[in-house]
Symmetry: C2
Subunit: 336 residues, 2 copies
């Protein structure tokens, strides 16, 4: 640890987060489920595989174009389950509220959580509410944990990427991160930015129907696409080649990111996934994705190589190659 | 709602908490599991009954005699599962850390969580860490969610209390609440107070072995014994008669509570349970409890009546009777 105190980048999802997990958490909670470091743990339950996951949401501002902290809390946990190939079913919701928080805001958030739950087809079955004195928390934090069932024959995990795989992304990247940051900085653009917060379990279901042998699914949230790709390259010990020209990024995101000096590849997404699968299955899966509301802009963005295990290389438009590293530093605390 | 803003007593576990849940939460998350308002939801999973629960921990101070926020976070969730008669198995842990929080404190908390997990025989299989800027949260908040399996034939729930039942408590009440408050107020007493934070699943297992038909189990945390008894009286629509002379309360707790003007019956416990069961089973169950480390001081404290459904009456030492109502107001925010 470079410091003896928690720093913002320990929560970035990037390098410092990984170091904190490896050095502080894993030594104490050493077990095969946690050690896999996937979005959900897959545990065996009476002979069935159950996916279990948790996430706390601390996004600021709590309301933003395209969503709010409540929609994020449902979609994020649904997506973590879906990224194990699981069918999400039951969620818990734990609220930490600051004294003085407007009840009307709470109700708006609950309404949004209910709508997102209906859309995803999950139920919030257990909950908890704590209230802390003014100043001890900022407005509202929400934890959601989730349970899903992994169908027989499905084995989707970050360890499974293999040379020859194609890498798909379900749509444009950077939308959520840039929306939050723009709001916070008080920036406005001609074409308004909007968060992509969405439940992806329907999309995943159609992808697994088209290709039950799909290797890896992951949603590039904190740390963005670049960090997610690095995680998978590491877990599977393969090299990744990403084609810059193929990366789907909205023009308004490119423009805003340029103004703010940020790289959209490191900005959080809340309604996108990356998938790794045998190249010969890619056409069929892309077609299935494009039939789904949250997969219309799905494209292939790269491929898996045996060389350079653990490394992600970006092939640039002009034919150059540069290393796409893990996020270091924290451009954007409280992004989700 | 009496106010349009969240107030501290919305998190007390007492009357205002119940109103908030009924008016704000239940309309949006209307489902049979949540509506039962038990410590855990019991859902059917491939023909097996699975208990699922969540709790956030915001206790202040984070270290206190007898425990810390980490021990509390493990024990509290283990206990919520055990109170459904479930065998706790897997936990999640979600951390919200304030920028600048000492890593040594985090490691001390993680070590304590690991020790409590070992004691309870559960595994933390999935986790999440968020860091918020200085001032946006106070030091550390922990959410734990948990999964347990309810064995066949066990039906323990707040709805099941029946006239003729005896009411048992596993030991002294008020210890945790008064320990926290004394620390916060900087009070010290000749005999030091200590939190009772403990995992109760071993105790519950031995109770269910002695009496599989046990009706109700609940841990009297926020709002204390009085609030818990009121919840059960309401859920089961029965009257409760509690014998003041039988209530186990440590002398130092009585003394400290008197100084602070608090009633130990409304103070949180983190390692105690109340049980409702047919009177003829009570001796056997009490014997089983007293064989367990966390049940040595178990006693019967009252009985269930058909009259006065929803009401809890305290029979005082001098032969009087007074209504033991739900907690109103919040004597003690951030108690767990």
């Amino acid at each position: 640890m470079t410091s003896d105190k928690i720093q913002l980048d320990h929560g970035s999802g990037g390098r410092a987060s990984q170091e904190l997990i490896a050095r502080a958490f894993l030594p104490y909670f050493d077990n095969v489920f946690l050690n896999e470091l996937n979005d959900s743990a897959a545990v065996i339950w009476n002979g069935f595989r159950l996916a279990f996951t948790t996430d706390s949401y601390v996004v600021d501002p709590i309301f933003f174009p395209g969503g709010d902290i409540g929609r994020l809390a449902i979609c994020g946990t649904v997506n973590d389950l879906a990224m194990r190939g699981a069918d999400p079913r039951y969620l818990s919701a734990g609220f930490i509220l600051e004294e003085g928080f407007p009840l009307s805001d709470l109700e708006r958030i609950l309404q949004s959580m209910a709508a997102a739950s209906r859309e995803a087809g999950v139920q919030v079955v257990t909950g908890d509410t704590k209230v802390v004195p003014r100043g001890a928390a900022d407005k509202i934090f929400i934890n959601t944990s989730g349970l899903g069932q992994i169908p027989p024959g499905i084995d989707v995990a970050g360890q499974n990427a293999a040379p020859g795989d194609l890498i798909l992304v379900s749509g444009t990247v950077g939308d959520h991160g840039l929306t939050i940051l723009s709001r916070r900085e008080g920036l406005s653009f001609e074409t308004p930015l909007q968060s992509d917060a969405a439940p992806l379990n329907g999309l995943v279901r159609s992808m697994l129907e088209a290709c039950p042998g799909l290797h890896v699914l992951r949603d590039p949230t904190r740390g963005g696409l670049a960090t997610t790709l690095n995680e998978i390259a590491n877990q599977s010990q393969v090299g990744l080649e990403i084609w810059e020209e193929a990366l789907p990024i909205r023009n308004e995101v490119i423009a805003a990111a340029e103004i703010l000096g940020l790289d959209p590849l490191y900005l959080a997404n809340e309604g996108k996934l990356v998938a790794f699968l045998p190249a010969e299955q890619a056409e069929k899966v892309l077609a299935a994705m494009r039939d789904q509301p949250y997969g219309r802009e799905a494209v292939a963005i790269g491929r898996v190589l045996a060389e350079n295990p653990g490394r992600v290389v970006l092939k640039t438009a002009i034919g150059g190659r540069r290393l796409l590293d893990l996020l270091t530093g924290e451009p954007l605390p409280r992004i989700c």
